[in-house]
């Protein structure tokens, strides 16, 4: 069996990035403000983590307008979904493997 620690994704070591992915896995599209409220983080902090995830191709960004205000929403990509599931499996293996 492969070492489960090697299967853990470095990108998801940050609790905020893990939180973003958790929200996006169960919601089709989530706005910046809703993410901010759910994860209880500051604008700058959230934005930088979102950029990291986007650069790695894990999330998609949709820029739209509500009236004149910009409304940015985020959703998870296939690659992001796969990576997140692998990360979860590795976490589960670590629990059962050590028992």
């Amino acid at each position: 069996m492969k070492n489960p620690i090697a299967q853990l994704n470095k990108l998801f070591e940050s609790r905020i990035r893990l939180g973003i992915m958790s929200v996006l896995m169960v919601n089709e599209a989530v706005s910046f403000n809703d993410l901010k409220q759910l994860l209880d983080v500051t604008d700058g902090n959230l934005a930088s983590h979102l950029v990291t995830l986007e650069e790695n191709g894990f999330i998609k960004v949709w820029k739209g307008f509500v009236g004149r205000k910009t409304n940015t929403t985020y959703s998870v990509t296939r690659a992001g979904e796969k990576a997140f599931k692998q990360h979860l499996e590795a976490l589960e293996q670590m629990i059962s493997g050590l028992r």
């Binding site: 919601n27 809703d34 979860l88 050590l98």
Partner: protein, 210 residues
Amino acid sequence: MDEKQSLETLSDIKRIMERSSRFLSLSGWSGVAAGICGLAGAAWGQQVLLRYQGSLSAGGQGLDGLLLQTQLIRQLFLVAGLTFFCALVSVIVFTWLHTRRRHLPVWNAGSRRLLVNLFIPLIAGGIFLLGMLYRHEYHFIGAGCLVFYGLALVNAGKYTLTDIRYLGLLEILLGLVCLFFESYTLYFCAFGFGLLHIVYGLIMWKKYKG
């Protein structure tokens, strides 16, 4: 990263997923308050019915009887509307107080989704029953209210505490049984909109501590 940390991370993920997809801050007291409104409404409806039967036996026949019936329907409609309004307001107020005490948002994506999905069957049912009233079809109004309300709760149960789903199933069952016992409709409504809500509210209050 060790076993304990992995467990914590997994439960964090689960919590965030739950919190982001469901509105979990419904207060148990709001159920009790809605139930009290339901019981009060049923008692008022009973008064209206008794008065109608009184004036009917006092010699309301022919055209008089028809007028009395129209008046009865109008009054019962008012009772039902006011009861629904009071119940809705008390649910909103108690839930708002509940979330404020816990410093949680009351108006977010979760509560929006909950309301939309609650009101789709509710508004469809409301219009359907209004159409029946328009056609002077009064027999199934009470049963219809229970069934459509139950369907609305079952639908809303996907976006809030899952317990609501069971309350919805009970309301549907009650409405269907009510179809066959038309003369007891008011009692069925009192049970479904009053007692069931109170019992449900108390269970929620015990289960989720508030």
